[in-house]
């Protein structure tokens, strides 16, 4: 299972790699990282059918996570990747916007990795 994590904080890569090191070692999961919305889109263009799950932050320089979500849901209809939005702002407006744009899940920081692991399994 391939997961694309989109966040402008670079340390998020180290964190995910260490949190999921067992799964990575056992080849249950594979992670790719993008540090902006634009980067994520170009990655998806190259690896369209491999990626099944996208985790994205909202507040990023340039393209925001919500804008990325909109583009993904518009463009990549088949097979539709699961998009989970993670944000430090648990506000209702962002939540409603994300849901409206077709987000499959909405998580607030700090990320509950145990919950995330459960979600990845399903």
């Amino acid at each position: 299972m391939k997961i694309l994590v989109v966040d402008d904080e670079r340390d998020i890569q180290t964190l995910f790699e260490q949190k999921f090191r067992k799964e990575i070692k056992e080849k249950q999961m594979e992670f790719a990282f993008a540090f902006s919305g634009e980067e994520a889109l170009s990655y998806l263009n190259q690896h369209e059918h491999e990626t099944v799950l996208i985790l994205s932050d909202i507040n990023m320089p340039g393209m925001s996570g919500l804008e990325l979500l909109r583009k993904i849901k518009e463009k990549y209809l088949k097979p539709p990747p699961v998009v989970m939005i993670i944000t430090a702002y648990g506000d209702e407006e962002s939540y409603n916007k994300a849901k409206q744009l077709g987000a499959d899940d909405f998580l607030t920081k700090p990320v509950d990795f145990n919950y995330l692991k459960e979600r990845f399994k399903t």
Binding site: E9, T14, L15, Q18, A88
Partner: protein, 458 residues
């Protein structure tokens, strides 16, 4: 024998005339006696007829008529009738004189009866003439009286209307007073609301930014928590590997742990820096003036504004230039208040450049570089004027249209869409600068940008 027709007629005329007068002038107490007088006149005449005696009764007639005339003339209430009553005096005098002469010297009377009769006749004509003229006068007076009565009625109607109007006016006045009081009450409430709004604006401009910054702190704190959790897991794993004697794996894990420690430290410091920056502003406002380095103050609030906006919107980007005059002396100001004034100018500048940037979407975004310049300078004393410190915030946004330039310091004036600005920011800044004895000036060229300057005397 001749019946006393003349005295009867005269007495009836007199009493009737008096009765009429009494009735029109509402002198009630005279009505009854006058009825008796009429009755008496008729009775006297009847007595003459019944007893066929005029010799005695004619003297009663004389007495009676004289009594009526004298009595009527004496009454103050009947003074307006005097002219009329006087007209009967000649008649009575002549007839009395005739009768007296007859009594004293019947021969003389018989010889001169014509004279007596003529005199009595003339006095009768005289009465008729007086009556006629009196009647005319009376009619004129009656007309006058009716006219006056009409006027009185009119006046009474006017008086009643006046009273009604006064009641109406009083009602209206009461209504107006009530409305005035309601309006005053509403005005007071508005004033209170305005005060509250100004207060909440003071909080909002800073509060909004600090809320953004709190989120900004959340990110590094999350990393600190996450990496320390990870390290706990890694250490457990390392212990397992040590027991297995798998030293290569142990070394690799130790390296990861050390790296994570670095990250914890890095993010801890990151959070620390933000908190330190905030604490400087959240010091309780003492409201006391203290000597402050304006450059440091402006820079603090510049960073606060920048980070506050970035925390909310990372796509927000601006080139910031600072030109601080290092030779500035400290200025006596209330740092929290002046900081707020500077903060408002900076957030406005950021807003202005961000708005203009929207007109340059990619790929044209290279054509416009949003820039905000914060600078300070010393204005040396000149011609009796004290020296001053100048802090200016300049942006290259859209500028301020000439027609709104003189309104921007008014409370509640805003060019922002409803809900985005209270219109109190600049008005508040203006008040703060004024309270420090300084000046807040604006200079703007439409389409090219705006520059706000605070000038504080030292």
């Amino acid at each position: 024998m001749s019946l006393s027709v003349a005295p009867l007629v005269v007495s009836l005329i007199v009493t009737n005339r008096i009765r009429k007068y009494v009735r029109t002038n509402i002198l009630k107490r005279w009505e009854q006696p006058l009825k008796y007088a009429l009755f008496l006149s008729v009775m006297l005449f009847a007595a003459e007829v019944i007893f066929s005696d005029t010799a005695v009764i004619k003297w009663v007639w004389h007495a009676y008529l004289i009594a009526i005339i004298v009595f009527a003339l004496k009454q103050e209430e009947l003074r307006l009738l005097r002219m009329f009553i006087v007209a009967f005096i000649p008649f009575e005098l002549f007839s009395l004189l005739g009768d007296l002469t007859q009594l004293i010297n019947d021969d003389f009377y018989k010889n001169h009866e014509n004279y007596f009769n003529n005199a009595t006749g003339f006095s009768f004509i005289w009465i008729a003439a007086i009556l006629f003229s009196q009647n005319r006068q009376f009619k004129a007076a009656e007309k006058e009286r009716i006219k006056r009565q009409h006027e009185d009625e009119l006046n009474r109607a006017i008086a009643i209307r006046k009273v009604e109007l006064e009641v109406l006016v009083a009602e209206r006045t009461a209504e107006l007073t009530e409305q005035k009081e309601e309006l005053e009450h509403a005005l007071n409430e508005l004033r209170a609301t305005q005060t509250q709004l100004v207060q909440s604006e003071k909080m909002a401009s800073l509060g909004e930014l600090t809320a953004g910054i709190a989120h900004e702190i959340q990110n590094p704190l999350n990393f600190v928590n996450n990496f320390s959790e990870v390290n706990t897991e890694l250490i457990e794993e390392m212990q397992e590997e040590m027991e297995k004697g798998n030293m290569d794996e142990v070394k690799a894990l130790a390296k990861d742990i050390a790296e994570n420690e670095q990250k914890i430290k890095h993010h801890g410091k990151r959070a620390d820096a933000i908190v330190k920056g905030m604490l400087q502003h959240s010091r309780t406002n003492s409201g006391m003036k203290e000597p402050i380095n304006i450059n440091a103050l402006a820079d603090e609030y510049l960073r606060l504004a920048y980070h506050g906006l970035r925390a909310k919107d990372k796509s927000f980007n601006v080139t910031i230039e600072t030109h601080y005059d290092d030779s500035l002396v400290n200025v006596n100001i209330i740092p929290q208040d002046m900081g707020r004034a500077i903060l408002n100018l900076i957030t406005n500048a950021f807003y202005a450049v961000n708005e203009k940037k929207k007109a340059f979407p990619p790929p044209q975004d290279g054509l416009y570089e949003p820039t905000v310049i914060v600078s300070s300078a010393f204005i040396p004393p000149k011609g009796g004027q004290k020296g001053a410190v100048l802090i200016s915030v300049r942006d290259n946004g859209n500028g301020i249209p000439q027609k709104v330039l003189d309104k921007i310091f008014q409370p509640f004036f805003t060019t922002k869409p409803t809900g985005e600005g209270t219109g109190l920011g600049l008005s508040l800044s203006y008040d703060i600068v004024k309270a420090h004895g300084g000046e807040l000036k604006v200079d703007s060229t439409e389409g090219e940008g705006a520059e706000f300057s605070i000038i504080l005397p030292v």
